[in-house]
Symmetry: C2
Subunit: 199 residues, 2 copies
């Protein structure tokens, strides 16, 4: 989806550099406030050259979404090595807490992008929705393995809790919100496990 060119890209992988620079700058400035020259500069590529790799700005947005999906895949691949599903979810929370300073300044890298794209009327919002669905599915699988009958609803609650605490952390500009709310989310997981073992 991201790099299916007939093996023409010479060296340096400028396309990847542009895609990942786009993801970063979009996160910090938002899509609308970001100019192509901002991205070119961040990727250290001459402005006019951008159009050789991406014909439109929207294609850069699409590439940025792909970049987020790749990041998600890499993260869940790592988490899947943890034996217990509940610990995988806790490790995911720990990762979010680690990113608290970034979240306080710019919000969730993917959530804020998806929110911005949802104001538009083109199909880009659906591409973003697919990434969110991928996260929810992975979380749902953990709840299923934990033996929860309401795995899907629980997964929605779990991801919603994260998105919500990211919004508050960002709006209040307070990384400690992420710490405190992340802890409460982890405690909720403990409650679920206790109920399961107790019943």
């Amino acid at each position: 989806m991201t790099d299916s060119k007939p093996a023409k890209t010479a060296r340096g992988g400028k396309r990847e550099r542009l895609a990942s620079a786009a993801a970063q700058v979009f996160h910090q400035q938002g899509v609308e406030r970001t100019t192509l020259s901002d991205i070119a500069e961040a990727a250290d590529v001459p402005l006019g050259n951008v159009y050789y790799y991406f014909k439109t700005k929207d294609q850069l947005v699409e590439a940025a979404i792909g970049s987020h999906l790749a990041t998600l895949r890499a993260a869940t691949d790592q988490l899947d090595r943890i034996p217990e599903p509940v610990d995988r979810l806790k490790a995911l929370i720990a990762g979010w807490i680690e990113q608290r300073e970034t979240a306080a300044r710019y919000g969730c890298p993917f959530g804020t992008l998806a929110t911005e794209l949802d104001k538009r009327e083109d199909g880009l919002d659906q591409t973003a929705a697919d990434v969110m669905r991928a996260l929810i599915s992975w979380v749902e699988e953990q709840f299923t393995q934990m033996g929860r009958a309401d795995a899907h609803e629980s997964a929605l609650s779990f991801v919603a809790a994260y998105q919500g605490m990211a919004v508050l952390t960002n709006v209040l500009r307070d990384p400690e919100v992420m710490v405190g709310q992340g802890r409460r989310l982890a405690e909720w997981l403990d409650t679920l496990e206790r109920d399961r073992l107790g019943a």
Copy 2:
């Protein structure tokens, strides 16, 4: 803050019309994608005339935030008439669920605005943060009246849960997410009350 002009506004309250039109159009299109002529048209005011009431686009953003604060105040004033604090929170959730179709299409009117403003570096994001704090404070007061020792943290969780379900409802374009997650949030309130009465 919104209308402190020396009683010059002739008739019709064009200033208020512009402020509330701005809030609505910003919600649907986002601030950056909204032009002054979009707002002028929505408020049924000639484009050039906008500058008589607001010298810059940023002042319209500020007015829109003020409009959201007024909406919040009106809502909590109504809710305060309900005898039991837990029922006030439940009524708040019910109101959010009622707005589910709008949330599915454009997200939380205030949360998405605050998120967009947080990408900027001017002080407008702090004005938005004040409104979020006002909501959290009101919710916290209800938890305090319910006898919760962790009223502040609970209020953050409550508002975060709403913001999160609004994000998912919006990104997934599915109003039913708000229904299902709203119900779970209400059930959590029931759990708290049961624990309190049981202990």
